[in-house]
């Protein structure tokens, strides 16, 4: 039996709907301190809604959500949802999350030092006065990570942190999150990227309106679970001790690649 102090958030039979359309049905999920979980599933499976239930910005129509008293949450949105034309520098973007305590518009010396240390740690040194659009994809992702980290969260929630980024940036983000997790931070993220992201995480939740399966990647990244999650056949191979997912395996066999000049 897990004690209440060992749980950051517990969802019990949570059901969410937009209008009459159910998005999540009877979801049970427990997030412990230091846990690192990836939520995978097809588009429209309720991944972002689940994240927002954990965050508290979506209220379930049924079920219960228990949060540890005084729980601090950090949220990193999908970069696609950010208004990149908004006039805000990196420093302003990070500091805007500090809305409690100090009311004055400008940062105190302590806040400035804290932001500088955070930007240093996340590899954003010297970029504080740049506009957020002037950064690379990985740097942009890290700015929003810094904004979430400024609140010293117990639980960090990230919505598709590697969406639309190249392989190198994906590696950077993954290693950065691994470092933060190593410091004891609990992390829950959503991802579409089964091979580049999900397979590297210690714990996965397969979601399709309801929790299809959860556990270590080797337990849940199986043909059976993935077919139930995505509603399409998927083949899972093993490479260097890690699962590698091939989607649309039957089509890959049927449609030959064209060769130049053929």
């Amino acid at each position: 039996m897990t004690g209440a102090a060992d749980v950051l958030v517990r969802l019990e039979r949570v059901t969410c709907a937009y209008g009459r359309q159910p998005v999540l049905t009877g979801v049970d999920l427990v997030v412990h301190p230091g846990q690192f979980t990836g939520v995978v599933g097809p588009s429209g499976s309720g991944k972002t809604t689940l994240l927002r239930v954990l965050l508290g910005s979506v209220v379930p129509v049924a079920g219960r959500v228990h949060r540890r008293r005084g729980l601090r949450l950090g949220y990193v949105p999908q970069v696609d949802t950010v208004d990149w034309s908004f006039p805000v520098t990196v420093r302003e973007c990070v500091l805007m999350a500090r809305t409690r305590g100090r009311r004055l518009p400008w940062a105190s010396q302590a806040e400035q030092a804290e932001v500088a240390a955070l930007l240093d740690r996340l590899g954003l040194h010297g970029l504080a006065d740049r506009h957020i659009r002037e950064l690379s994809g990985g740097q942009q992702q890290r700015v929003f990570l810094a904004r979430a980290m400024l609140g010293r969260p117990d639980l960090l929630l990230l919505d598709e942190p590697t969406s639309g980024v190249d392989a190198r940036t994906r590696h950077e983000v993954l290693h950065l999150l691994d470092d933060l997790h190593g410091d004891g931070l609990a992390i829950v993220l959503t991802t579409h990227d089964l091979n580049g992201m999900a397979a590297h995480l210690p714990h996965l939740v397969c979601l399709n309106g309801e929790v299809v399966a959860e556990g270590a990647p080797r337990q849940v990244l199986t043909s059976d679970v993935l077919e139930r999650t995505y509603g399409a056949p998927m083949e899972v191979l093993e490479h260097a001790g890690m699962p590698v997912v091939l989607d649309h395996p039957s089509e890959a066999r049927i449609i030959p690649l064209r060769r130049p000049g053929a």
């Binding site: 302003e92 805007m96 999350a97 809305t99 009311r103 659009r133």
Partner: protein, 281 residues
């Protein structure tokens, strides 16, 4: 030089100039939030809505500031409430509520009123009859709105940039948005007489749009927009006297001219940068 300074001999002009400069600064300040929230149409709509309250107050003999003010706040909160339900987009909510209010004002005047100087001033702006008390009233509203922005800076910025995450982070976004709408209604009410309800939207939108083209930092945009609004009001008011054109149109045309200049200069600068950065340049 004497000709330029001549209007300063008249008290009505000094009062009008002070009001125009303060009104420009006030509209420039509040305009930053209106422009960045994509609600430029709201300034246009809310000013028209206030005209309904203005007409009703005038015809009923109620204090215009109080009557139109309450009307404006009610309209602003109604727009905010309708838009937050997300079944109707904010621009549609503004269109329905404010145009109906403006139409009501016109109908009330047609049925029961006379189209005197006040009617014209409310529509197109005028500095005639601006008293010391009017200057103090606009100064008070400008000070109050500046204080709201100063003390609520972080919450306003967070709510404007990222409302969902702000709410999830504990910012009372509904309250912040309501305060912003009330501040906007108060700004329009305070400046309606000099700028005119049909032109006030431009004085809200133009300074912020010009400032946006000049900076990528939010705090600088606030300062720039406020300064540009004040300067536009000051220059426009002086030109209004010398050209013998109403204050509202002149102030708007000065702002529009500045917008055109900055748009052209920054456009050329950006083209030159892109050209310099292009491969083989």
């Amino acid at each position: 030089m004497d000709e330029l300074l001549r209007p300063f001999e008249f008290e009505f002009f000094r009062n009008g100039l002070a009001v125009a400069t303060l009104a420009g600064a006030l509209c420039g300040l509040i305009g930053v939030f209106v422009v960045l929230r994509g609600m430029s149409y709201i300034g246009h709509g809310l000013s028209h809505a206030l005209f309904g309250g203005y007409a009703a107050s005038t015809l009923l003999g109620v204090n215009v500031a109080l009557g139109a003010g309450l009307w404006g706040v009610a309209s602003a909160l109604m727009i905010n409430g309708v838009a937050r339900r997300r079944m109707v987009r904010a621009d549609a909510a503004i269109g329905v509520i404010t145009t109906a209010s403006f139409a009501l004002g016109l109908a009330l005047f047609a049925l029961f009123g006379r189209r005197g100087r006040n009617f014209e001033a409310a529509l197109f702006g005028s500095v005639l009859g601006v008293s010391r008390a009017d200057v103090l009233a606009v100064a008070a509203v400008t000070g109050a709105v500046a204080l709201v922005v100063f003390l609520g800076y972080r919450q306003l910025l967070f709510t404007t940039f990222d409302p969902d995450v702000a709410e999830a982070s504990g910012v009372p976004t509904a309250r912040v948005e309501a305060v912003l709408m009330v501040a906007l209604a108060a700004s329009i009410l305070a400046t309606m007489q000099i700028l005119g309800v049909t032109l006030i939207a431009a004085t809200i939108v133009i300074p912020a749009s010009v400032a946006r083209m000049l900076t990528h930092a939010f705090h600088r945009m606030l300062f720039l927009s406020t300064g540009i609004g004040a300067a536009t009001g000051f220059v426009g008011m002086n030109l209004s006297y010398h050209l013998d054109v109403q204050s509202g149109p002149t102030i708007v045309l000065v702002g529009a001219g500045l917008f055109a200049v900055v748009f052209t200069v920054t456009g050329l600068r950006d083209s030159r940068r892109r050209w310099a950065a292009a491969p083989g340049a």
